[in-house]
Amino acid sequence: MMLTIGFLVNPIAGMGGAVGLKGTDGLISEAIRRGAEPEAGKRALAALRPLRGLPLRFLSCSGGMGEDILRSAGFTGFDVVYQAPDVTSADDTRSACMLFESRGADLILFCGGDGTARDVYDTVLDRVPVLGIPAGVKMYSAVFALTPEAAAEIVHHLVSTPPLLREAEIVDVDEEAYRHGELRTRLHGYVRSPCQPGLMQDTKQVWEDQDEEKAKEGIGKFLAEVIRGTPEFLYLLGPGSTTRAIARELGVDKTLLGFDAVKEGTLIASDLNEEGMLGILSGETPCRLVISIIGAQGSVLGRGTRQVSPTVLRMIGTENVIVVATPHKLSETPLLFFDTGDRELDAAFGKSVSVISGYHIAQRKRIGRISSGN
């Protein structure tokens, strides 16, 4: 099957990291001054070389944003659909993606970091499947293959078998805070990304991994039953599509990226910030927090969920936190992390946690320790 790939490289991705800048956004001049050299092209080349000979049609950008790398990898006959300037920016990524989509790309293969992933997402949302070749300083989004070679292997599979797609989170990282040693992330959105469970997992796990949507439905159905069966509790449903599946079962219109409150199966409040949560928790009603794993790093609380401050969490009680995740997500995250910003609270979760992974099924997962916190 001929596959049309929109291919782009963020030429400056990763340059900041090499010279200790923890990110490149807004700092390209400083990175170059410190002697940084473009790295992304080399990584993109490593992903492209194994693809020679496959029935692929590339749409790309001029120069270092795609064309040069394709030629170095031995490809000819591709379409340069976007003329990139000498110095590229986020706008160029977005413009190229817009053209890829309009020219019928089956997949956008980009090389960059979280910033590039965010720009791709902002343009195509979940309309075109996206796969990242890792080259940035920070790669907390779940859209990246483990290595450039792994990206190539996934494309190989896409050519020979029908694509198996899953949702992958795009997360925002506050680069300024990151440079000061604090990882502050926020869920930005979801793209669709190809995955190959058979590539890395044994046959047993393939059963559960084949259908993310079915797993979410199972989780949604189970937790909806629990919520209906415990009218005495107020439930805070955290961000993400897994928790949204619970709301769907309840017939509630939940925000994708926010914390929403549900009581007796009815939506009480949407998109709560810390203050909003404290307001709701100040009553007598006992509360439970239902939360999923954010990003590709196994983070349960902390990354992307700063609304749940230590004060909020103390009022809820760590025993009232219910963690949910699909089997596929869990297979990618050997350790889970609670990073509430308060070590005592983190420790209260113990050494392992039971994660609801389907209808009437959970998985026991080990909890890792993060050194940050007060």
Binding site: Q201, D202, T203, K204, Q205, W207, E208, Q210, D211, K214, F222, E225, V226, R228, G229, T230, I322, P327, L330, S331, P334, S354, I356, S357, G358, H360, I361, A362, Q363, R364, K365
Partner: protein
């Protein structure tokens, strides 16, 4: 000091032990799924030979093993009892650990202890074909072996997850002349209904039982055969515990703790019922009996003691037992033989009455234990058996703390030679520690399992 304790072939038990005779209170009767009235022999005659039905309900303490059956059992019985001295040394425990090694049977597990008499009684009644289910393939291969001996056709519905994971079990069944079909299949109404509900289902023992029962009930020349759960199956397996008691007596010993893994309960029943009988009759009131199950399918530890169907489609008699609900599909752990929503009614009653107790473990920790066992005793056990190994090791480690020199007996019910993909997954760090979130399930609106 002996490492292996043998009995002569002539010392092999001549009678099975029927614990029903020693129960302090009667069992709640199985009920007909249609009438909800107690099942009578006639209800079962469609799918079982009359002698097995008699055994199922017999009040006799001992039941003779036919000489023709003993003759076949002599191929591997009496099986050896090992003193696990190297394991004791590895654990630095004062405990004395013994294990009954059932991996010496042709099928590699304890299952032929009942498949042979079941096939024999069917042959005596002129049955031409038997349908059955199998979880991990241990039972299927054992029945394939037994039906071959008596020239009976055999069709085996193998739980799909195991069919994929353990292709060589299927090969064994073929060698012995049986037909092996992945379940759910399109051959039965029960299978088709399940596939319609979920085309990607890994299957379950509950569904496979429905298929085999339906097959037997809809073919005149066909009977059904079950590898666990039922009273007569537990009865046949008592040959293991009876041999153990003799073997231990020959070295002037008696166990403080008896351990077996539990799926449907027959392996556990087989090793423990003779000792449970000693406990019930006051001969050894102190003996502790421990069933070990997976945390992903914790029937005895987290299930409800209630009447429920033995299968997914509700075709079998309704039995009083510990259950997670007959519609519960356990996750695809490697110990496929322990993926059963219910349990033997006798084992359930004994646990409920406090004669036995149960524990559950996660998948990874039982493989840790199996590795410890393989690296000390040499034998690579089946994933099911590794649950018993884990509990035995934990008991021995408790002894290390307390300084007690307890005698621990466990049933090494089968070898893991066809389970190396499970060990591969273990070494690749890919085992998933599934568990049953019982607290939340009890809160859910569906609340407790749907029992009739």
């Amino acid at each position: 000091m002996k490492t292996k304790i043998f009995l002569d072939e002539e010392e092999m038990p001549k009678r099975w032990y029927n614990i029903l005779a020693d129960l302090p209170s009667p069992m709640d009767p199985p009920l007909n799924p249609q009438t909800k009235k107690p099942v009578g022999p006639d209800d079962l005659a469609v799918i079982f030979p009359m002698e097995l039905i008699r055994q199922e309900m017999s009040p006799d303490r001992f039941i003779d093993i036919p000489e023709e059956v003993r003759d076949v059992l002599r191929l591997w019985r009496p099986s050896p009892l090992y003193r696990a001295r190297r394991l004791e040394q590895a654990l630095k425990t004062p405990a004395k650990i013994y294990y009954k090694w059932e991996g010496v049977s042709p099928a590699g597990s304890h299952k032929p202890n009942t498949s042979v008499p079941q096939a024999y009684y069917n042959m005596k009644e002129g049955v031409e074909r038997i349908a059955t289910e199998t979880g991990a393939g241990q039972w299927g291969s054992a029945l394939a072996f037994a039906t071959m001996l008596y020239d009976i056709e055999c069709t085996i519905y193998m739980v799909r997850a195991s069919y994929t994971q353990k292709p060589y079990r299927k090969s064994m069944m073929q060698v012995w002349g049986a037909e092996c079909i992945p379940s759910p299949s399109t051959k039965t109404n029960a299978g088709r209904a399940m596939l319609e509900k979920d085309p990607d289902t890994p299957g379950s023992l509950g569904v496979a039982i429905s298929e085999a029962v339906e097959d037997a009930a809809t073919h005149k020349n066909t009977h059904y055969s079950l590898g666990s759960v039922l009273n007569h199956v537990c009865l046949h397996q008592t040959i293991m515990g009876l041999e153990c008691r003799e073997q231990l007596a020959s070295v002037e010993s008696y166990p403080d703790v008896v351990i077996g893994c539990v799926g449907g309960g027959s392996n556990f029943a087989g090793i423990s019922f003779p000792f449970a009988g000693d406990k019930l009759t006051g001969k050894h009131p102190e003996v502790e009996i421990l069933g070990v199950e997976p945390a992903s399918c914790p029937t005895l530890t987290k299930g409800l003691y209630a009447y429920d169907f033995g299968d997914e489609a509700g075709l079998t008699p309704i039995m009083k037992m510990y259950t997670l609900g007959h519609d519960f599909i356990p996750p695809s752990i490697h110990a496929g033989g322990l993926r059963y929503h219910g349990d033997s009614p006798i084992v359930s009653k004994l646990v409920h009455d406090g004669v036995m107790r149960a524990v559950s473990y996660h998948q990874t920790e039982v493989f840790d234990a199996a590795q410890t066992f393989a690296r000390s005793e040499g034998i690579i056990v089946a994933p099911e058996t590794s649950h018993a190994v884990k509990a035995a090791i934990d008991e021995a480690l408790k002894c290390r703390k307390t300084g007690e020199a307890k005698t621990i007996l466990f049933n090494a019910s089968g070898h893991g030679n066809f389970d190396m993909s499970a060990y591969d997954a273990y070494y690749a760090g890919k085992l998933v520690d599934y568990e049953y979130p019982d607290a939340l399930i009890r809160e859910a609106l569906s609340r407790l399992p749907k029992v009739p």
